[in-house]
Every structure is written in structure tokens, then in C-alpha cells.
């Protein structure tokens, strides 16, 4: 017995000695260390998907941009339903606004993920790497373009993540310098990407060119805009879809008119706790008709309900000319619709009777999962060929030596589709043509989040938007907390 005990004691001591090594508490994490990544092509591809991810969070930029404009009211359930949205609608937003902070933080999340790839761009070589890098630079440009549109001068980081601690040392970069980087990134992307990608949703040469043209236009660089957009129209594989209605339906996703499209789907649920995590288009559920109920398989059984935000005002409905086929695609007149189909609905705050029909929830597929109000599958048609034509028209009309002929051709291409004939073509020129083009942008692109920024860049916002103060509201305030968290060194945008 005693012998056994001694054996055991020796055994126990041996075991404890073996375990006594300090290495016992060195454990490998279950996930990969971000500093030791980018060893294979697949690593780059996966990081790229991570960088695309934040495109889905731009639903807020689109919806809030629309609400900020004269097209829609905030709506919602009550006057205090998402105060940040209500304030932007009324132009009473302050530097304390949760939604503006979301836009700021989410776009920077996208910037950082794109920069993560570019930081390690030289680590591993393989065939086709440039295409991956080109997508990354496009995405960085896309996120930065949103940031300058909303906030003006913003901290610029190129080919490196902004690391913890560096937020205290980085200053706001002048808007012009940010735009210069956006141009460089898009030129690189356009040079290294094909017009057609095998996977719908991937960035293409056309997308890079279109966004570049748009960035020029926002800087009033009309010559440069005209050059790149003319080239895209001439050489790109895009065309207008004959049926305007089809564009916004599921069957019309990634169609020939789609130059760049943010991809969403409904196969994964989401929660209010992390809206940026949703794989669905959150703006769609927010814009839906409150308590929409249809008898199954009736004519009205093509939509489902939502939270009644982002409701169009009568003025934008009236902006459509008689005979414009786009009106009933863009605007859902809920009373008329209810009368025609027998659906029932509820009224929310600021009920106008109109809804943004392009982006309200469609009847759901049987595969749809999760919280349906937050995970609608409607892709956001970020840059449509019609938009490209109108941008090109504007660039040609407004460049130092205008080419109004070309401008009218582009414009009328859009109008002919809208009316189904050439009877409503525009024959004006000069500033009247400019006005016609801008008016066309409003009706062609209503509900797609462009209107506010078009008004701002053309100097018309103060006259069109109630409560808009010139010299202040062209930019949104940098979230006060973000200034504080970066060490309080950034100045606020003017007059906030």
C-alpha cells in the first residue's frame, strides 16, 4: 500500500511539474489573428467580402438623404419615432443625432475594411490580384464619397487602417484632398476592372467610371465628368430597360441598366440591435405601408407592411407630368390602391397617402427568414444607366464649352422611355436645359436618395427645402461625440 502511495505521489508531482510550465497558459485563439493574414488569394477574397459588407449599411444614407430633401417627410409611428430621422426631415438636426453618427461610423467601418486589404496589398502575390485591389479602391472611394457628401472635410487614411490610438492624431482632411484620393482610387479601379463580372454585384469598370463621373460632377468639374461619362455611355454594355417598372422588382435586379447595385437578400434575419449587420435592405421595411393587409392572392397581395417612414409629399407627386409612366411606379397612392384592391392599412405619423413604391416591401418569398421588416431583399440600384445619362447630360450642358446637343440626346433618351414616345422630348438649351435636366433627375430618381445632394450641389436647396439654412445645412454636423472621442481637436461644420 505504502509503495502505491509513493508511486502515486511521485506521479502527482510529475504531473504538476509537467503542467507547471508557463506555456500552459499560452493558448491559440479560435479565430485568425488579423496581423498574420493575407497569405493566400482566398484570404484577400475573404477580406474583400468584408469590405463589401458595409455597402448594405448605406441603406440609411439613401433613406435619410431622401427624407432630408423636399421629396418626402420622415413619417414613422409618431413624432418621436426615431428622433434623429425626424430632426433631419425638419432641418433641426444638431451634432447630437444617432443616425448621423451611424452614417459616420458605418462609412468609416467600410473605409477601414477596404484599407485593411490595401495595407497588406504587397504581402502575397498571385495572378489577378489587381482586380481585388481595384475593387477595394472602389469601395474605399464609395465610402469616402458618402463621407464628403454628408460631412465635408473628413479624416483621410490611405492604404492603412486607422488604428486604436491614432484617432487622437488624425485631422480633418480638406474635402478637395479627399476628392483627389477618390478620383485616384476610381481611376485605378476603372483601369483594372472589366465591364462585366461573372458574379452580379461585383464592382465593374462601368461602376468605377460612373462614380468617378459623379465625383467630378459634385466638384463642378464638368469637363472631366463629360469625358468619363461619355466614354462609359459609348463603350459600356449598359442600356435603359424598356419597362421602368421592372427595374425595381426582384426580376429586374442586376439588369442591363444597373451600373452599380448594392446587393441584399432575405435569407438571414436581423435585429434592431445591429442594423448594419442586416443582409437585407432595412430602408425598405422602414418605408413600407403601416399595417398593410391584403386578402391572400388578391390583386393587392403584392406588398407587405412596414414602418411608414420616408413618405412622399404631394408636391413631388405633382412634379410628374401627365403621361409620365414613371409616376405610378415611383409613387403608391395608398387610398386609390386600397379602393382598387380592397387592402387595408394603418396611418402613421405625417401620413400623406403616398409611399415610395420603388422601395417598399414586396410580398415575401417563402424562403424569407428573420425579421421581415429589417431584411427585405430589394437591391438598391445605386447607379442606374438613366442616372449616368442624366449626369452626362448635365456635364455636357454645364461644361465651359457646352455641348447641348449631346446633353439633349442623353436627356431625351431618358424621357422617351418615361413617356413611351418622343412627344415629350426637350428641345431647350442653356440654363433652361440645365433646369430641365435637374427636374428630370428629380422625377427619374425620386425615392433613390439623390435629391438632397443634387439640390445642395446646384445651390437650390435653400429655396426648395423648408428650414434649410444656406451656409449651414449644405453639410451635416460632425457628430459631437465623434469630435470628443477624437480628442476634441476637430472644428464643427459651420453654424452648428
Amino acid at each position: 500500500m505504502i509503495k502505491n502511495i509513493k508511486t502515486y505521489l511521485i506521479f502527482a508531482l510529475t504531473i504538476s511539474l509537467v503542467y507547471s510550465c508557463d506555456e500552459f497558459v499560452d493558448v491559440q485563439p479560435t479565430a485568425e489573428n488579423s496581423e498574420d493574414y493575407f497569405n493566400t488569394e482566398q484570404d484577400y477574397q475573404k477580406a474583400l467580402i468584408g469590405a463589401y459588407d458595409l455597402l448594405q449599411s448605406t441603406y440609411l444614407n439613401v433613406m435619410l438623404g431622401e427624407i432630408a430633401s423636399d421629396n418626402t417627410l420622415s413619417g414613422g409611428e409618431s413624432a418621436t419615432d426615431v428622433p434623429g430621422i425626424q430632426e433631419v426631415d425638419d432641418m433641426i438636426h444638431t451634432p447630437v443625432n444617432a443616425q448621423l453618427r451611424d452614417i459616420w461610423s458605418w462609412m468609416y467601418a467600410g473605409v477601414n475594411r477596404a484599407n485593411y486589404i490595401l495595407e497588406f496589398k504587397d504581402k502575397t502575390d498571385f495572378a489577378g490580384k489587381n482586380e481585388i485591389l481595384a475593387q477595394a479602391t472602389f469601395l474605399r472611394a464609395y465610402y469616402y464619397f458618402e463621407l464628403v457628401k454628408w460631412f465635408g472635410d473628413v479624416p483621410l487614411a490611405v492604404d492603412k487602417r486607422i488604428q486604436f490610438g491614432e484617432q487622437f492624431n488624425i485631422d480633418r482632411t480638406p474635402k478637395a484632398d479627399v476628392y483627389a484620393q477618390i478620383e485616384l482610387d476610381l481611376i485605378y479601379a476603372a483601369e483594372n476592372l472589366p465591364y462585366v463580372q461573372s458574379e452580379p454585384g461585383r464592382v465593374t469598370k462601368g461602376a468605377a467610371q460612373a462614380l468617378l463621373g459623379k465625383a467630378y460632377l459634385y466638384q463642378n468639374k464638368f469637363n472631366e465628368a463629360a469625358v468619363v461619362l461619355d466614354d462609359l455611355i459609348a463603350k459600356g454594355p449598359y442600356d435603359l430597360l424598356t419597362d421602368y417598372n421592372l427595374i425595381f422588382e426582384e426580376a429586374g435586379e442586376n439588369n442591363i441598366e444597373s451600373v452599380f447595385e448594392v446587393q441584399y437578400f432575405d435569407g438571414q434575419g436581423a435585429g434592431f440591435g445591429c442594423l448594419q449587420c442586416s443582409e437585407g435592405n432595412v430602408a425598405v421595411g422602414f418605408s413600407g405601408v403601416r399595417a398593410y393587409t391584403a386578402i391572400p392572392d388578391s390583386a393587392g397581395d403584392i406588398f407587405t407592411s412596414g414602418f411608414s417612414f420616408n413618405v412622399p409629399v404631394k408636391e413631388v407627386v405633382d412634379a410628374f407630368q401627365v403621361g409620365d409612366l414613371r409616376k405610378n411606379v415611383a409613387i403608391l397612392d395608398i387610398e386609390a390602391w386600397a379602393t382598387a384592391t380592397g387592402i387595408t392599412y394603418g396611418t402613421g405619423y405625417e401620413h400623406t397617402g403616398y409611399f415610395n413604391r420603388k422601395y417598399i416591401p414586396r410580398k415575401r418569398s417563402s424562403n424569407a427568414q428573420g425579421d421581415r421588416n429589417l431584411t427585405n431583399p430589394n437591391n438598391y440600384r445605386a447607379i442606374r444607366f438613366a442616372d449616368v445619362l442624366l449626369m452626362a447630360a448635365e456635364a455636357n450642358n454645364r461644361k465651359p464649352s457646352p455641348d447641348d446637343n449631346k446633353a439633349r440626346t442623353y436627356l431625351n433618351r431618358v424621357r422617351e422611355r418615361a413617356f413611351g414616345n418622343a412627344l415629350n422630348n426637350i428641345s431647350s438649351s442653356g440654363t433652361t436645359l440645365t433646369e430641365n435636366i435637374l427636374q428630370e433627375r428629380r422625377v427619374e430618381l425620386v425615392g433613390e436618395g439623390h435629391r438632397f445632394f443634387d439640390l445642395v450641389r446646384t445651390g437650390k436647396a435653400a429655396q426648395e427645402i423648408n428650414g434649410f439654412v444656406a451656409g449651414k445645412h449644405e453639410l451635416f454636423p460632425i457628430p459631437a461625440i465623434e469630435i470628443q472621442l477624437a480628442g476634441g481637436r476637430w472644428s464643427q461644420n459651420p453654424n452648428y
Binding site: Y19, S20, A31, L48, A109, P200, F265
Partner: protein, 1020 residues
């Protein structure tokens, strides 16, 4: 390190040699009854050599040195020390002044209470028997000064939050719980009847557990048998029922419709109820939701001791339905315990303890916006339970939001079950050698398999409801956890010259815990319930956090692997039982920290002076015992996120190409390589007094400063912290201080053979103050109030942790003139709350009511908590009552959805309806108003006094019991949670999720039920 340490030990051990020895034999008897006492421990003082008396009270010890001192110990008897002068020693033991002779578990050993230098409280099995808790935490509530228990829910099987001496961290403030030496996170798996004692280490004494000790340590010891006893059985059984303590008075249908009309009219909208005639009382949702729920418990234990061995077997079953949802929130626990201790040789002891537990729990949605009770409060009383088609009715199409649903439909659809099988064992060998040494090796392990199933049929709760299911789904998951603790330590105990008592402990411990995720499926399913489900259609991963986790860890389903490597040493010295000193040092290495801070040293020390042993107090008639204590040291808290020091690709990077989800990678939590454990400096001054052999007093002053708190402050968005799956880094940047005073007094009187009584009272004062938050904003936010509002709770220097931060009201605007005269307040109209203009963007009042005007409006930490326990025995009757109180804690009323058509409580009847009608309760309107903003209007005094338990028992007369051949038979009746005195308007003032920042907010708390039990204890 380890090698040197082993060498040292052997060097030490060879220094002592055997002296002249003799064999000793004797009989131990009860001083009062004269009966022999079996199972008395006989130990040679200063050594671990000893034996126990047999059935006849006889002991024999061989090879005892002449002049050695034998220590006789028996539970409930005064310990006696007798020098060995002859070969026969017959003694008798007197009844003890229990408190001082109590054996206290202090970590890797035990100590007599009178020699303890730390602030340690012991709860004995007797206390647990008195309270009949379904969960052990209930036995601690109000019983132990400095320990505060809050329940996260009153639902069966819900977890309780234990806080020892305040909230000392913004992170995880759960204490370390060790069950016979093994780590357990959740006391719910233990049957209270199996517990012999609970020891709570509240001060620096806990430092023997080093990096894990900052929140205090709870040591739970299970029952073992007693040596030399025949088979003893004990059967305890109770049945009873539970009811809600309260229904919140709500508007009936008529009142509701009138108020709704008033609210719509106030905003110039069409009246929702054209006619209120015939609405009557409408639906009383609470009556429909609450039910009387049964519960029962049965446990049996069997003990037996031979001369060398003891064993104890325990079996138990507890079954409890919920007062909401009945069997849909059932909790069921089955438990088997087996303890076996034996002396393999004179010097080698084996001790084992094995517990198997099976728990089953069914859940309803509770304690959140949209929970069943929340909906019982907010569903319009004008909506019937069932629609005309016999289906559950839906809320009105608009005006109630998307979270308010028919609560009975929610109960009806609930179909889920989670069950845990857990085997937990503790096995140790103790070997005594060279008189004064003992070596102990213990392996302690837990294996748990946790499974859950949920069946979600297609359901419609109304348009846009967040609870709608469009497809039938079924999910199943399984997780396995395994941990072990392996301890080895050597003790040296010797008394020199009868005066110098020296104890040395050197030890080593490793701990490892791993978790594995086994399976997770959510799919399109068909069937009618959980037991009849067929899975078909495409497999889809859902947003379930667990599944995402699985997905991120593709190729490896290891959830975590966390380890601890420790060395510790304790030195205890006592001079003549008067001067006591204890010093501990522990070195811990933890996988939680990066290479820079992986190892830490934790020194603590404590002192004691037993003044009553001094000549001037010896044999004092009044003061029987007096001891002063002091302790101080450094202890740590390592309960933080793993791998916070590395930037891992564990974020969410998902995008859709070709309508197919693509999984990429993205970084998750932002790293901070400097991360280190939280460091606590606990200071304690205490004294223990016994007066007149009847009164026991323990008083302690404590001050705990916790530094280097790990905070996850808001961090600039430009570093990418808002990305899906990302989070801000943890930084060590906070200090919080808890100080207070604990006092407990017990009074025991035996008036006659027939009448005995016992009173215990304790109170604890607590002042919590955050002294430093080192981030750029100077505060950390948390909690949830209303929908889409900012965070209501803060941690900020100069305030208690988790204080409520909101607007301060100053009455109600009576007239438009008052509105105009006041600072600009958005949407203000007569009848609205008037907020104080406290500040502006630059710190001075700016004439505008904005977020800048928010300030301290209360905190959830009680200033004073107390407990009172009263028991007496009269002839065959015994009575026990126990109450506790909490004073100075605030609670946030957040169970009101405040939408145009949600129901309201009757206190809305006192609203403002015109000038002079109310200066405290605002008008109702559906229009835009700031009344819903978080303000002191929603913060209430949560002080309460609760009669926790009243028990009356009757023990059958001995003659009768003997006749039916039982040792004892007792019947009892217990009423628990009988009443609560409070001003709080909600269900239960104890409502709290326990979060350090964000606790004390009532979202429609599932109240702790009132229970009535009838039970029987039989010993045979």
C-alpha cells in the same frame, strides 16, 4: 520554480524527527447527558494526525508523543484540549457557544472561527433548512451582512445575481463559487438540502484565490456522513403553490377608451372610440396571464459511517411551474449526490464527492420589451382574448407598436426546452507524513452538456409584429463544457512550546475550461410541436448569435479554451491564541491576458488580536470573547473577454453575390495589447464579540478600491468599431470605491427546556463611488429605456456606478404663459412635464432643454440593506420568520410602451387635465411630446421591506415517533414572499438584470412569486 519548491519541502521535512511515543485510548461522553459520543474528531494538536471515536465513543491513537496535546472536536460541542499524560484519557464535552467553534472553510483548508483573521461568514445547513430555498441564493439574501442578492427574474429556475460588498466592477461582478473545490458558475444545479455549509470570503482573505478573488469567493461544502454511525435516512418533501405578489392596477376598457379619446383629441385627431357605451370592464389581461402554479420537491439522503469510512447519498427532485405560462415556464431539477470518504491507511485519506444534475427549463419571453408581462400591461383592454373566429385576437392595426402582442398567444405558441446534464466531481487524497506534514492532491471537474430545442410554428401576432413567424422553424443546439481544477498542496502545521502555532501552506493549482459547440440547425420545418417535427427545405443559418459564432469558427467548433496556472503560499502564525497573523501570496497566469501581462502576483495579509485571551479580559463575566481583525491586500478580477489583446478576424464580413450569401472575414473587437486584470485593494477592520454567552456581534468596516477597471468606452467611429461584429477595445481606465459598514448581531436564549429562541439581525451600509473613468468622454453608458432613446445609465467619476442619467422635472406646465416663460422645450404645451434647464453645451444653462440638461436622477444601489431572522421553539412547535429590507435604491419604471393605443395603469387617472389639476402627472396626448424622454418622472424609490419567509413546524412527540420506529417526524408550513412594503408602482422592487451599468430598470419584470408550501421531514 517548481523544482526548487519541491526540494525545499523535502529539506524542511527531514529537519523533524520522531520523539518518544506512547499509545493513548479513551472514551468521550456528552457532559450533560453522559451518553457516549461517536464520531468525535481526536487530533494531535499542531499535526494532522488523529482519529475519530467509534460507535461507543472510544478512540485509540498510537505513537503519540508524551506531552502532546489532543484536540477533541465535535459539531455543536465546545472543543477541548487535553495534554497526554497517561495512556487513558476519558473526557466529556460541553455544549458549545456555537459561533466560535464553527469550522470555517478558508480556501485549501479550514480554521476554527475564533482563529479566523478575515471577514468570513458561514451559513450552516440549519439556516438552509429553515428557509427551504428552491435556490441556494435565497438562503444568502438578507442573512449575510455585505451580501446582496437580486434575482434577474421571478421565473422558475432563473438565475440570481450575487454581489459581495457592492458592485466593484463595471464588468463581471459575480463572485467565484467553488463547490467542494470545483468552479461552478451557477448554483441552480445544486440541491440546497445537500449543502453542509456555505462560507463567504468577503475581504482580502479571498486573496488565496488571486486573480479570481476580487468579487469575493463563495465556498460551498456538501454533506458527508459522520464516522461510526449506523444507517441514517432523511426524507424531506414539500408541495405547494405559487401566486403573483401583485397585479398592477390598470385601466379597464371604459377608462382606457376615455383616456385614449382624450389623448387623440389633445392632438386634434379623430377619436378612436366614437362611443364608450358598453365597453364595460373589458379584458383583464393580467388576470388571464397570471395563474396559480404548483411546485413540489422531494429529497432523500442516506448516511452511514464505519470506523474508517463515511458515505452519504442524496437524491432530489424539484418541479416548479411558473405563475406566468404555468407549465410553459416549468423548471425541473433532478439531482444525485454521492460522497465517500475513507481512511485508506492511518495516514492516507481519500475523499470523493460526485454530483449528477439534470435540469429542464422551458422559457417564455420575459423581462424585455415585448415580454408576456409587458404585453399584459400594454394590450388594450378593449381587445378580447379571442377573436370571433376563436383564434387569439390581434392588437389594433395601429397605435400599439410592433412589440405589443396578445400575451396569451405568446404563451400558446411557446414551445421550447433546454436541458442540462451535468456531472461534477471532486476527488482528493490526503497523505500525512512526518507528524506535521500533509500532502493533498485533488482533481475537481465538471462536465456539462447543454441542449436546447425550440419549435416556432407559423404565427401572426398582427401586422408588422416583431413576433411574427412566416415559416415554421425548428432549432436545436448543443454545447458541451468541460473544466477541471487540479490542486496539489503541502501543509505544515506545528505548535512550538505550546504557544507558537505555525501553519504553512504551499500549493499549486491549474485550471482549464473548454467549451464546444456541437450543432445548430434552423430549418424550414413542418409539424405541430417540438416532439412532432420533420425538418425539410433548405438549411439556413439564422442570426442566432451562437450560429454566427459557429459559422465564424468554421473548421473548429471550439468556443473557448481558458486556463489558469497558479502557485500560492500561505503562512499563518498564532501566538498563544491571542495574536494571529496570516499572509498569502499567489502567482497567477491567465490565458485572458497577452504576453505583457500574463502573470501577476497577489499578496494579502490579515491580523487578529483575541483580546479576550488577555489577562485583563480572561474570565470576564460579560465579555466571553473579543477579537479585532484587520486585512488588506491586492486581489484580481480576470473575468473579461478572451483575447482582448489581439485583433482577431472574428467580426462579421458577409455580402451577397448572385443572391447567395458569401462569407468573408473582418476584424472583430479592436485590440488593446496592454490589457491587464482589474486590481482590487480591499481593506477591512472588524471585530467579533460574544457577550453573556448569548449575544454574538460581528462588525466590519470595509473599503474596497478597484483600480484598472476594464472599461469598453465609446471609441471614435473612425477606427471601425461600428462595423458588424466589431466592438470597441477594452482599456484599463476606471476606479470604483465601495465602502461601508457591516453589522450583525445574534441573540440566543434558552428560557426553559420547552422554550428557546434565537434572533439574528444584520445590516450593511454601502456607498459606491466611481472616482475615475479614463476615456475621452469621462463616462460609460449602458442600459435601455423606452424605444430609440439614449442610454439611461452611466458610470462617471463622482457618482455611484450605473447611476441614472436623465432630465430633472420641476412639476407640470399649467398654462401657456408658464411654457413661454420657461426655457425652450421642444413640443411643450400646458400639461407637459417641465424640465429643468441645468446646463448647455458649454456647461451653463442656455435657455434650452436639450440632452445637455441631463443629470443624476438616482441610482440602483441601496444605501442600506438589512435582514432579520427570528426563530423560536416551544415544546414541539418551531417557528421561523425572516425579513429583509433594502433602502435608498432607485428603480426605473420602463414597462409602459406609451403609444397612442396601449393601455395604461390607473395612476394615469391622476393626470393633468387643466390648470391646477396636477403638478406631477402630465397630460395624455398622441402628439409629439417630450414627456416620454427619460427623466426623474420614471425614476422611483425602490426601497422595500419584504417578509421573505414564515415557517411553522410541529415535531411529533418522541414517544410516538419511537413507536413507529422513526427518529423524528416534523410537519411544517411555509409561506414565502408573503408581502412587500414599497412605494414602487411596478410588480417587484427587486427587478434588476444585475448589470453594473443598466441595472435597476424594470421592463415588465417577472415578479418573484408568493409561495405556500406544506412539507414533512422524516428521519429514520
Amino acid at each position: 520554480m517548481k523544482k526548487k519548491f519541491t526540494l525545499l519541502l523535502f529539506a524542511l521535512s527531514t529537519a523533524f524527527v520522531f520523539a518518544q511515543t506512547t499509545n493513548v485510548k479513551g472514551v468521550v461522553k456528552d457532559a450533560v447527558t453522559g451518553e457516549t459520543l461517536p464520531g468525535v474528531s481526536v487530533l494531535i494538536k499542531g499535526t494532522s494526525i488523529g482519529t475519530e471515536t467509534d460507535f461507543d465513543g472510544v478512540f485509540t491513537l498510537s505513537n503519540v508523543k508524551q506531552g502532546a496535546i489532543l484536540v477533541f472536536d465535535y459539531l455543536g460541542k465546545k472543543s477541548k484540549e487535553v495534554p497526554v499524560t497517561s495512556a487513558t484519557i476519558n473526557i466529556s464535552l460541553e455544549d458549545a457557544a456555537e459561533a466560535l467553534e464553527e469550522i470555517v472553510v478558508i480556501g485549501y483548508g479550514t480554521q476554527r472561527k475564533k482563529e479566523v483573521t478575515g471577514a468570513v461568514t458561514v451559513i450552516s445547513s440549519a439556516t438552509i433548512d429553515d428557509i427551504k430555498p428552491t435556490r441556494i441564493e435565497q438562503a444568502l439574501q438578507g442573512q449575510v451582512a455585505g451580501v446582496n442578492i437580486t434575482t434577474s427574474s421571478g421565473s422558475p429556475g432563473a438565475a440570481a445575481n450575487i454581489r459581495i460588498r457592492g458592485v466593484s466592477t463595471n464588468g463581471d461582478s459575480r463572485p467565484l463559487i467553488l463547490l467542494d473545490g470545483r468552479v461552478i458558475e451557477d448554483l441552480s444545479v445544486v440541491n440546497p438540502s445537500d449543502i453542509e455549509s456555505i462560507n463567504i470570503l468577503k475581504d482580502a482573505t479571498a486573496g488565496i484565490y488571486g486573480v479570481r478573488a476580487a468579487n469575493g469567493v463563495i465556498l460551498v461544502t456538501t454533506k458527508t456522513g459522520r464516522k461510526a454511525t449506523p444507517f441514517k435516512s432523511s426524507l424531506n418533501m414539500y408541495v405547494g403553490f405559487q401566486q403573483t405578489t401583485r397585479e398592477i392596477p390598470l385601466l379597464n376598457a371604459t377608462e382606457y377608451a376615455l383616456l385614449a379619446n382624450e389623448a387623440f383629441a389633445a392632438n386634434g385627431e379623430a377619436l378612436p372610440f366614437a362611443s364608450i357605451a358598453g365597453l364595460g370592464q373589458g379584458t383583464n389581461w393580467q388576470k388571464n396571464v397570471f395563474e396559480t402554479a404548483p411546485m413540489f420537491s422531494i429529497d432523500y439522503s442516506l448516511n452511514k459511517g464505519t470506523e474508517k469510512s463515511t458515505f452519504s447519498l442524496g437524491l432530489s427532485v424539484l418541479d416548479q411551474d411558473g405563475i406566468v405560462g404555468g407549465s410553459k415556464s416549468n423548471f425541473n431539477r433532478r439531482n444525485i449526490r454521492f460522497n465517500f470518504d475513507t481512511e485508506l491507511t492511518d495516514k492516507l485519506k481519500l475523499s470523493t464527492s460526485t454530483i449528477f444534475t439534470n435540469t429542464n427549463k422551458k422559457n417564455l419571453i420575459e423581462n424585455v420589451l415585448g415580454s408576456v408581462l409587458f404585453n399584459a400591461l400594454n394590450m388594450p383592454p378593449t381587445t378580447p382574448v379571442y377573436a370571433t373566429d376563436g383564434q387569439f385576437s390581434l392588437p389594433p392595426a395601429t397605435g400599439t407598436g410592433i412589440e405589443v402582442a396578445n400575451p396569451l398567444a405568446q404563451v400558446d405558441i411557446a414551445d421550447n426546452r433546454s436541458w442540462v446534464n451535468k456531472i461534477s466531481g471532486s476527488y482528493g487524497l490526503n497523505y500525512s507524513f512526518l507528524d506535521n506534514f500533509s500532502f493533498e492532491t485533488r482533481i475537481q471537474l465538471n462536465f456539462a452538456s447543454s441542449k436546447s430545442n425550440a419549435f416556432n410554428p407559423i404565427a401572426n401576432f398582427g401586422n408588422g409584429s416583431v413576433f411574427n413567424n412566416f415559416v415554421t422553424s425548428f432549432s436545436q443546439s448543443e454545447q458541451n463544457y468541460f473544466d477541471y481544477t487540479f490542486d496539489n498542496f503541502i501543509k505544515y502545521e506545528k505548535t512550538f512550546n505550546d504557544k507558537h502555532d505555525v501553519k504553512v501552506l504551499l500549493g499549486h493549482s491549474i485550471f482549464k475550461t473548454i467549451g464546444r459547440f456541437m450543432k445548430g440547425i434552423t430549418s424550414f420545418a413542418s409539424g405541430t410541436n417540438m416532439n412532432d417535427v420533420s425538418i425539410g427545405g433548405p438549411l439556413n443559418e439564422t442570426s442566432d448569435a451562437l450560429l454566427i459564432h459557429l459559422q465564424r469558427n468554421r473548421g473548429s467548433n471550439l468556443l473557448y479554451d481558458s486556463r489558469l496556472l497558479s502557485y500560492f503560499a500561505r503562512f499563518q502564525y498564532g501566538y498563544d491564541g491571542k495574536y494571529l497573523i496570516s499572509a498569502v501570496i499567489r502567482r497567477d497566469g491567465s490565458t485572458v491576458f497577452g504576453s505583457k501581462n500574463k502573470f501577476g502576483y497577489f499578496p494579502t495579509a490579515s491580523l487578529g488580536w483575541v483580546a479576550s485571551e488577555e489577562d485583563f479580559l480572561k474570565d470576564n463575566k460579560v465579555i466571553n470573547f473579543l477579537k479585532f481583525r484587520a486585512s488588506y491586500g491586492i486581489v484580481g478580477n480576470d473575468r473579461i473577454r478572451a483575447f482582448g489583446f489581439l485583433s482577431l478576424l472574428d467580426g462579421e464580413g458577409e455580402y451577397v453575390f448572385n443572391n447567395t450569401l458569401q462569407n468573408g472575414v473582418a476584424f472583430g473587437g479592436v485590440a488593446n495589447p496592454e490589457i491587464r486584470w482589474e486590481k482590487q485593494l480591499p481593506l477591512d477592520f472588524g471585530l467579533d464579540i460574544e457577550l453573556f454567552n448569548k449575544i454574538n456581534i460581528t462588525a466590519d468596516y470595509f473599503k474596497k478600491v478597484t483600480e484598472d477597471l476594464l472599461v469598453q468606452p465609446q471609441t471614435s467611429g473612425i477606427i471601425g468599431v461600428a462595423a458588424p461584429g466589431a466592438s470597441a477595445p477594452f482599456v484599463n481606465a476606471g476606479t470604483v470605491e465601495n465602502k461601508g459598514f457591516e453589522f450583525s448581531i445574534g441573540y440566543k436564549e434558552i428560557i426553559s427546556d420547552d422554550f428557546k429562541f434565537n434572533v439574528n439581525y444584520n445590516f450593511t451600509t454601502l456607498k459606491n463611488n466611481v472616482t475615475f473613468v479614463g476615456n475621452s468622454t469621462g463616462f460609460i453608458e449602458g442600459g435601455e429605456f423606452g424605444v430609440g432613446q439614449g442610454f439611461p445609465s452611466r458610470m462617471e467619476a463622482g457618482f455611484p456606478i450605473g447611476y441614472f442619467y436623465g432630465l430633472k422635472t420641476n412639476g407640470i406646465f399649467q398654462t401657456q404663459a408658464e411654457v413661454d416663460a420657461h426655457a425652450t422645450q421642444t413640443n411643450a404645451a400646458p400639461g407637459d412635464l417641465r424640465f429643468e434647464d441645468i446646463s448647455g453645451p458649454d456647461g451653463i444653462p442656455d435657455g434650452k432643454i436639450t440632452d445637455d440638461d441631463r443629470t443624476y436622477i438616482g441610482d440602483p444601489i441601496a444605501d442600506l440593506t438589512m435582514g432579520l431572522n427570528l426563530s423560536f421553539n416551544y415544546k414541539n412547535f418551531d417557528f421561523n420568520a425572516y425579513a429583509f429590507a433594502s433602502i435608498g435604491n432607485e428603480i426605473v419604471r420602463n414597462y409602459e410602451r406609451n403609444l397612442p393605443k396601449t393601455n395604461r395603469a390607473t395612476y394615469f387617472l391622476d393626470r393633468w387635465t387643466g390648470p391646477g389639476t396636477s403638478n406631477s402627472f402630465p397630460r395624455v396626448t398622441t402628439g409629439a411630446t417630450s414627456n416620454n424622454l427619460f427623466s426623474d418622472f420614471y425614476v422611483e424609490d425602490g426601497s422595500f421591506l419584504r417578509l421573505q419567509s414564515v415557517q411553522l413546524g410541529y415535531t411529533l412527540g418522541e414517544t410516538f415517533t419511537k413507536k413507529i420506529e422513526f427518529d423524528s417526524v416534523r410537519f411544517y408550513f411555509t409561506a414565502s414572499n408573503l408581502f412587500t412594503l414599497t412605494k414602487y408602482k411596478g410588480y417587484d422592487p427587486t427587478a434588476s438584470n444585475g448589470a453594473p451599468i443598466g441595472g435597476g430598470i424594470d421592463q415588465g419584470f417577472y415578479p418573484s412569486p408568493k409561495t405556500f408550501l406544506f412539507g414533512i421531514n422524516v428521519n429514520f
